[in-house]
């Protein structure tokens, strides 16, 4: 018995020594990796220089010189960079938390209790402050102060006044069309497909087909659909699916992407194609959550399948429908990639996010760009309000 206790004491003592000495050393090493690694990654030619240094050590001077001059084994240099990226970005961050916690562990218990929460929370809060809170305030401010090329603005509302002129009302209207059509399209189709798929065998397989586009980037999806909408002059072979069908039905080939006003809707189709899977998956889970007793009761009351779906199931999953619609709407509001790739905003298809990119990076109008961003922010404010209200109801963070 006594021997066991002494062993336990010794183990505890050894654990303590480990904690007291090894962990701070680990912390120092971790800090060194993060600092050195960050400096290395900050240097645009860091990987080339490091590899050149290694080559020089190994006596390969020609290879080293080539690397320093931007030639040589660039591929190997990239692999070195990737390895460093993983080491610093993944290992370094972990070591940092471990190390700092260990150092704090050396303090008195009272101080530990006070400091540890901040060790856990501060890195995230700092990044949020720098990358989201500060910029939001700065963007709002700049929308009132920055003019052409960033010059000072005489009238603080000039940028917003500009948004009433030129084609800006049309751009904003396009965003509204996107918001309404893309959201209702993908939620409506998602709901319908969820209801249909619920009743067939191999449900999972069918869902995969609808869901798969969600893995595809908006840029990739745009290329896919650009090919579907491809246009050749009359007489030439129509290899675009749309024109092939359209001409086979006796029509003249149409340059779909540049034909107003149908082109905006054709771009929206891409978004619906991508997002329907998301709506379907969540609404399908909600439908499965409706109790079988309710469904059976409705059937006994003589409801047919259509009535059952629209009069019983849909009202019961209204909450999920609203949540899905909100999530999709926020994604649609910021739509950029599809318009950027498909038309670049030409042919009357421009939307706020794409126009903002152009104003800031092509036309040197950061103030107008900021004002456009503020419009997007205002549009999501109701959702933000609801989220915060729900938070208070849950009593979280009180």
């Amino acid at each position: 018995m006594t021997g066991g206790v002494r062993d336990k004491d010794r183990d505890a003592a050894r654990d303590d020594t480990l904690r007291r000495f090894l962990l701070p050393i680990g912390a120092v090493i971790g800090l060194a990796i993060v600092v050195f690694g960050t400096a290395f990654l900050y240097d645009k030619n860091g990987a080339e220089n490091l590899l050149a240094g290694i080559y020089q050590l190994l006596g390969n001077n020609a290879g080293a010189t080539a690397l320093r001059n931007g030639g040589g084994d660039q591929f190997v240099a990239k692999l070195v960079l990737a390895a460093m990226a993983l080491l610093v970005g993944v290992g370094g961050v972990w070591l940092l938390y471990t190390g700092v916690s260990a150092v704090v562990g050396l303090l008195s218990l009272r101080k530990q209790q006070r400091i540890i929460p901040w060790v856990f929370v501060l890195p995230a809060i700092t990044l949020l402050g720098i990358y989201l809170v500060y910029p939001t305030i700065a963007t709002i401010y700049q929308s009132f102060t920055h003019g052409n090329n960033g010059a000072a603005l005489a009238n603080p509302l000039a940028n917003y006044a500009t948004l009433g002129t030129q084609d800006f009302p049309h751009v904003i209207l396009n965003n509204v069309i996107w918001l309404v059509v893309a959201t209702s399209g993908s939620v409506g189709l998602g709901l319908l497909i969820a209801g249909l798929v619920d009743r067939v065998k191999r449900e999972a397989l069918a869902k995969t087909f609808i869901f798969l586009p969600l893995a595809i980037s908006l840029v990739g999806a745009s290329v896919i659909w650009q090919f579907v909408y491809a246009y050749r002059p009359p007489g030439a072979p129509q290899y675009g699916l749309f024109n092939a069908i359209y001409t086979a039905a006796g029509g003249q080939p149409l340059d779909w992407v540049h034909t107003q006003p149908i082109n905006t809707y054709l771009l929206i189709v891409i978004m619906v194609w991508l997002q329907t899977g998301f709506s379907m998956v969540i609404l399908s889970a909600a439908i499965k959550g409706v109790s079988t007793e309710v469904v059976e009761a409705a059937r006994l009351d003589g409801a047919n399948e259509r009535q059952l779906f629209f009069r019983v199931i849909v009202p019961m999953i209204k909450g999920s429908i609203i949540t899905v619609a909100t999530t999709v709407a926020i994604a649609v509001l910021k739509i950029f990639d599809i318009v950027y790739v498909m038309t670049g905003g030409r042919s009357g298809t421009d939307v706020i996010a794409n126009r903002m990119y152009d104003e800031v990076f092509q036309f040197n109008q950061p103030g107008i760009g900021a004002a456009l961003a503020v419009i997007l922010l205002i549009a999501v404010l109701p959702v933000m309000y609801i989220n915060l209200r729900n938070l208070r109801h849950q009593g979280v963070g009180a």
Partner: protein, 299 residues
């Protein structure tokens, strides 16, 4: 054992008798039809990406499917061209360098923060968590201009470091929120008994919270991975189009501009960008769906 099955069978048909498959036929055709419609655009891309360029402009991709065993109409040259001379191979490597840390760093930071928000009392906890939830819906567009101004001062534009930090920060609100929802639901007894044993918060976090949170961590990891891998806007603004750093969505959008109407190149390029997310997605579909459900049904 057989009796209940028989009762069910005799009760099943209602109304005029028809074979079960006929009753179900319209529904089944509708579902198959929808699946086909959803798949055709991607199929067109896949088929075209393995056809020679001169064939694509002469006949539609569907005509190649009429005699698929005529092997002379298939080629992999498009892939070797986009991967080598059009730089998609290089962009693939860059995308990996961008995406992996941009996935792991925010999860790490968010898990620590979520644990503190859920299980440690400290002054300012409520207000800080409220800010995190408020930031959930703030559009990225609000950040672009001021961060770019800071980046050009610090020479962070066009560096991997710069884009990791940006993706990390943009992913944090959702990550903290999702992980908080999960971690705060863990049973209270776990933490009380750990506290009695004298475990520090760090030990509780690494030995209890992290192992139990693997499903939530995994779901968010897939989510963030797909988001970063497929992102165009953040990469375009903070990383740019220089070939040493360009990622795949940017590279593909450049290809669209430089190879207009050259569909053998564009389709192969698009498929290269889609490959990794599709594989990740098909393998980890269940986990991903679970994450989506946790993210939007609860909120």
């Amino acid at each position: 054992m057989t009796a209940p099955a028989q009762t069910v069978r005799t009760m099943a048909p209602r109304g005029p008798w028809r074979p079960a498959w006929l009753n179900r036929a319209p529904l089944r055709f509708a579902v198959i039809g929808i699946c086909v419609i959803w798949f055709i655009p991607t199929l067109g891309l896949l088929v075209s990406s393995v056809r020679p360029g001169q064939d694509i402009t002469v006949t539609g991709w569907w005509s190649a499917l009429l005699n698929p065993f005529n092997l002379s109409q298939w080629t992999l040259n498009n892939y070797s061209q986009v991967i080598n001379s059009d730089g998609m191979g290089n962009a693939f490597l860059n995308s990996l360098i961008v995406t992996i840390p941009s996935t792991v760093i925010p999860i790490t930071m968010a898990a620590f923060a979520a644990y503190a928000f859920a299980w440690i009392r400290f002054p300012g906890r409520g207000i800080l968590f409220t800010i995190v939830v408020g930031l959930l819906v703030v559009p990225i567009q609000m950040s672009l201009i001021p961060i770019l101004q800071v980046y050009s001062q610090l020479h962070l534009q066009g560096t991997f470091l710069g884009i990791w930090l940006a993706h990390t920060a943009f992913g944090l609100p959702l990550a903290i929120f999702l992980l908080y929802n999960f971690i705060s639901q863990l049973p209270k007894d776990l933490f009380e008994s750990a506290a009695i044993d004298g475990a520090s918060h760090f030990q509780v976090f690494t030995r209890i919270v992290l192992p139990l949170s693997v499903p939530a961590l995994g779901a968010f990891a897939i989510f963030q991975f797909l988001w970063v891998w497929n992102d165009l806007l953040v990469a375009l603004v903070f990383l740019g189009i220089n070939s040493s750093v360009v990622v795949m969505p940017t590279a593909l959008s450049l290809l669209v501009g430089s190879h207009q109407e050259q569909w053998h190149i564009l389709t192969a390029g698009a498929f290269v960008t889609m490959l990794v997310p599709m594989v990740v997605f098909l393998i980890l579909q269940r986990s991903f769906i679970r994450g989506l459900l946790a993210g939007s049904v609860k909120s």
